[in-house]
Symmetry: C2
Subunit: 85 residues, 2 copies
């Protein structure tokens, strides 16, 4: 593993972890009023594209980050649809 991957995995942990409080908040409050489904749907497609990019450039951190983030984004999107008024 070459040096930029350390920064990459640090970034991966943060951007993946960033989705967790939001997922937890919406799950606990059963309220998704302030959240934009458009955002999470677009984000999900974007993250999927980054995953393909990561595979193409063979970057372990980009692949790891975007695999996890994609799962969480799908989870949040489902919650938004489920709890919307």
């Amino acid at each position: 593993m070459y040096s930029p991957e350390y920064i990459g995995f640090f970034a991966a942990i943060l951007t993946t972890a960033a989705f967790l409080p939001q997922a937890f908040k919406i799950w606990k409050s059963k309220n998704a009023d302030g959240l934009s489904l458009t955002m999470y749907a677009t984000m999900g497609l974007g993250i999927l594209s980054w995953l393909i990019y990561g595979i193409m450039i063979e970057s372990p951190s980009v692949i790891a980050a975007n695999s996890l983030s994609f799962s969480i984004t799908v989870f949040i999107s489902i919650f938004i649809i489920r709890y919307r008024k």
Copy 2:
């Protein structure tokens, strides 16, 4: 520009654009109740790390995406602090 960069820039447009509806929604409603500051602060630091990673691996799409996303994340964070109850 080699081939993966096309996918990279497509991903960049989507993940950057994904932040815009949320920024617009919070700006229009002056309401940030459903949004997690923890998420945006962590995301901001993560995006900044991806930007450093992008510079290290010399990826144009990673650099472009994370420069823009970082600005928008800072903007949303400021709105959350300003409009929180």
